[in-house]
Subunit: 246 residues, 2 copies
């Protein structure tokens, strides 16, 4: 059982949607950058960088999807050029550490604490992605599962840091954004939890065309929440903190 024409188009449309969302979020953030106080502009710049990097990779993913299949009179035929899964992982390797850096920067902690947390969380995030990749491209279910387990170790460390490690720093935030920063951390946890679940779908009896649709559309939705929606929350936090600081 393989992909139908409808499934193939649907995934292609999801990629185009992802590209449009990421590119427009980038433009919004960079154009609105001057509306936040100078102390938050690095956070907003990086937030836009994350969506810009994602827009570039969605373009590559879309083109690769296009080139992998020939459509003739409603029939799909593999061209022999494989769909390149690596673009997602290259994207994540860059953007996942940056997403954590955004969250830390918008809190405006002391310089030491900022560095310290950025290196620990960013490093763990990079490790998580590197450990996930071999399982994503592996044929066997056993290998996929093994690397899932390995990648879960840094993942759980990150979740722990977000929930417990950042608690004290969040308590020090001004009242008008405390709620919003809590919300931002929950958004990270909820949207990131999606990825290891999507990754396991092919092991849960979803096969063939449906597995491909589930994984590709699932990752795309998760990316939109984790980068674009999250980026707009970061922007709102920066606007409110700028206003509060006068």
């Amino acid at each position: 059982e393989t992909l139908s024409l409808d499934q193939y188009s649907f995934v292609g449309n999801a990629f185009s949607f992802g590209l449009a969302v990421m590119a427009s979020t980038t433009l919004f953030l960079w154009l609105m950058r001057s509306s936040v106080a100078p102390g938050y502009r690095m956070a907003i710049t990086i937030t836009g960088l994350v969506t810009a990097i994602a827009a570039y990779h969605y373009l590559q993913i879309m083109l690769s999807w296009d080139k992998a299949v020939d459509v003739t009179s409603g029939e799909l035929a593999a061209t022999g050029e494989p769909f390149n899964q690596a673009y997602r992982y290259v994207d994540w390797l860059l953007t996942v550490p940056l997403l954590l850096v955004e969250l830390i920067l918008v809190m405006k902690l002391s310089q030491d604490e900022t560095w310290n947390r950025a290196i620990k969380l960013g490093g763990a995030a990079a490790l998580m992605i590197v450990l996930g990749y071999p399982g994503e491209v592996a044929e066997g279910a056993g290998t996929r599962f093994l690397f899932w387990i390995l990648s879960m170790i840094p993942f759980i460390y990150i979740l722990y840091q977000l929930v417990v490690g950042l608690k004290e720093s969040i308590e020090k935030q001004p009242d008008n954004v405390k709620q919003l920063i809590h919300y931002a951390t929950y958004l990270v946890i909820a949207s990131w939890a999606f990825y290891p679940i999507v990754y396991l779908l092919p092991l849960l009896g979803i096969t063939g065309g449906s597995a491909i649709v589930a994984v590709e559309v699932g990752y795309t939705i998760a990316d939109i929440v984790a980068k674009a929606v999250f980026g707009l929350v970061i922007f709102t936090i920066a606007v409110r903190k700028s206003a509060a600081e006068g």
Copy 2:
């Protein structure tokens, strides 16, 4: 009866026209952005974003139109790669909620009212588009009509909100723009009313090549009015309100 070469070229030219209008409106709005007071820059940024997103989708639509047909010595032959209608709906899914957000932002209501109205109207707009899509790609007239009815429900809710719900907020606007804001809401109503009519054309006895031309050119004209012309009205409102506020 299918598309003639003239019809095929005409639709392709309409798409190229749409792309040029959307892209130039975007550049105009973003280049002129600094001419409005800071409080209106988000409205202008989003207005330009809507036309930017539309420009991207017109490019995709134009390319898909091009790839769907081979022209050899004046004869058209389908390549087998279907023309992708979904780009329009992906575009609308993003831009229709943003168009309503533009209108609300330029009114500069209280923070609560802005959020409240943006979520209600934006949500209804997204629902309207999602409900319209299955009918657009369906083969049967019955299905097309069924989804038309379903999509009309949120559509009528939006019209009602624009006419009745926003009345009070519009009354609070400064005198030099009240007329213009009324005009902007009428422009939304008149241009949006076009879409459900165009959608029904294939059910009204217009068939084959003519139906395709009517639907594609009809939507393109409606898009230009609803996004580019409307965007310039929003820009004018922002300029006048900036001047009035000193």
